[in-house]
């Protein structure tokens, strides 16, 4: 019965920290909301689930890795402004995102048999949405670096904040794929406005977030 003891220990730890369960519930909730926004045509949402999952695993690592290895202190003592550190991380994450897009989008389209009516616009919307996701996750990961539970705190903070961008990107992408562009300005404005606002907030708060 030792396996039960191990399971009980894990459950006790989990219900105390609520790390994994929070992440699972948030991810499940977000997936349901995503698919509900694209009733009848769930493929664009499915593509975004891929990007969200990949992004959640990857984008926050740029800052958290520096914290874990102690090299964030090396940047703090170097003659480099906190905003340069933030922008450096955003550019790094954006580069990773572009590499991911180059491989994932063609594979996804081939597997699901999706051939967008407006290919260029579809790619631009996906890139803009992903870039907004990168900006939000990079900026937010700075804010949680001082927390002991930073790995778990980030998704809890990120999902609700990034939700409008995800929904808007899925809507705009669905329109671009179908070729029905009526009202596409709305979601595109949300993506661009959200990215700009988050970037501005990140720039204004990075000094306070980085120096204790």
């Amino acid at each position: 019965m030792k396996f039960l003891r191990i399971a009980i220990k894990d459950l006790r730890t989990e219900f105390r920290t609520k790390g994994t369960i929070n992440f699972l519930f948030l991810f499940a909730f977000l997936s349901i909301m995503l698919f509900s926004a694209t009733v009848g045509d769930p493929e664009p949402a499915l593509l975004w689930v891929v990007f969200i999952f990949a992004g959640m695993l990857g984008y926050s690592r740029a800052f958290l890795r520096e914290v874990e290895t102690g090299t964030l202190d090396a940047l703090r003592i170097s003659p480099v402004s906190p905003s340069s550190i933030l922008f450096g991380k955003i550019v790094y994450n954006a580069a990773i995102m572009l590499i991911l897009e180059v491989f994932v989008i063609p594979v996804f389209m081939a597997v699901f048999g999706i051939y967008p009516k407006n290919v260029l616009l579809s790619v631009i919307i996906l890139t803009a949405g992903n870039l907004a996701f990168v900006i939000v996750s990079s900026s937010l990961s700075v804010l949680v670096i001082k927390s002991r539970a930073r790995e778990l705190l980030l998704p809890v903070l990120l999902f609700p904040i990034v939700f409008p961008v995800i929904i808007s990107t899925v809507q705009a992408f669905t329109m671009a794929v179908s070729g029905n562009l009526d009202g596409i300005q709305g979601p595109i404005s949300v993506i661009l406005g959200f990215s700009t606002a988050t970037l501005a907030v990140g720039y204004l708060t990075i000094d306070y977030a980085l120096i204790e």
Partner: protein, 220 residues
């Protein structure tokens, strides 16, 4: 005067790490910050190097009240944490930090040769010994020819040979120095002046001679 601290206090939540730290450091002076573990030595040097801000008190460094980029250009920091990227080679680490300080490749070569790391420059830092990492960390801190070098317990994890080699290097330094340690002998050996910290307060500021008797007197 290079550094002046006046009544510095630092709190982390409810915990008061520093209660009253005041001392100065002159040009080319070598100062040991001595104290038991948890006394506030590292917090003090983290404030001086601009990693954290004091809760209260006045800090002046190179005549400035704020540790900005121009101040950071004039100092170097070596810590027990080596501040190195383990998945980059020794040379790549130096190249990266040199780019932040606008230092050219000749300086990198000069330092790596001086510290005996030139032959291993293309090895990943994760494959370096603790002593080699510490030497690379010193090379990184010297890239900008700092006027002030801060060494925060740099001997942690070093064997006797590594420690001896480090002390030989330190004896050749010409710049002002702050050296934190909990070891009386190290303070006496490296620095002419010692500031003794206990529970976040300066309890002694004077010569590094006869530190053992001073330490016992002050700590009782």
């Amino acid at each position: 005067m290079i550094v002046r601290l006046e009544n510095i206090e630092k709190s982390f939540g409810r915990f008061k790490a520093l209660r009253d730290i005041s001392f100065t450091l002159g040009k080319d002076e070598r100062l040991a910050l001595l104290g038991p573990n948890g006394s506030g030595k590292t917090t003090t040097v983290r404030i001086i190097s601009g990693q954290i801000k004091p809760t209260n008190g006045k800090l002046e460094i190179f005549g400035k009240r704020r540790v900005d980029e121009s101040v950071k250009r004039r100092m170097g920091v070596v810590s027990h944490n080596t501040f190195l990227y383990e998945d980059l080679t020794g040379y790549e680490n130096m190249e990266f930090f040199a780019s932040l300080y606008d230092v050219d490749g000749d300086r990198i070569k000069e330092l790596l040769q001086e510290l005996g790391l030139w032959k291993r420059r293309h090895d990943l830092v994760r494959n370096y010994s603790r002593g080699m990492k510490q030497r690379l960390s010193i090379a990184r801190a010297l890239l900008n020819k700092p006027e002030l070098i801060i060494l925060d317990e740099p001997t942690t994890g070093l064997d006797v040979e590594g420690r001896t080699r480090l002390f030989e290097m330190l004896s050749n330094f010409k710049s002002a120095m702050i050296f934190t340690t909990h070891n009386l002998q190290e303070a006496e050996q490296i620095c002419e002046r010692t500031v003794l910290i206990r529970e976040g307060r300066v309890v002694y500021d004077g010569s590094s001679e006869n530190l053992e008797s001073v330490f016992q007197e002050v700590m009782q």
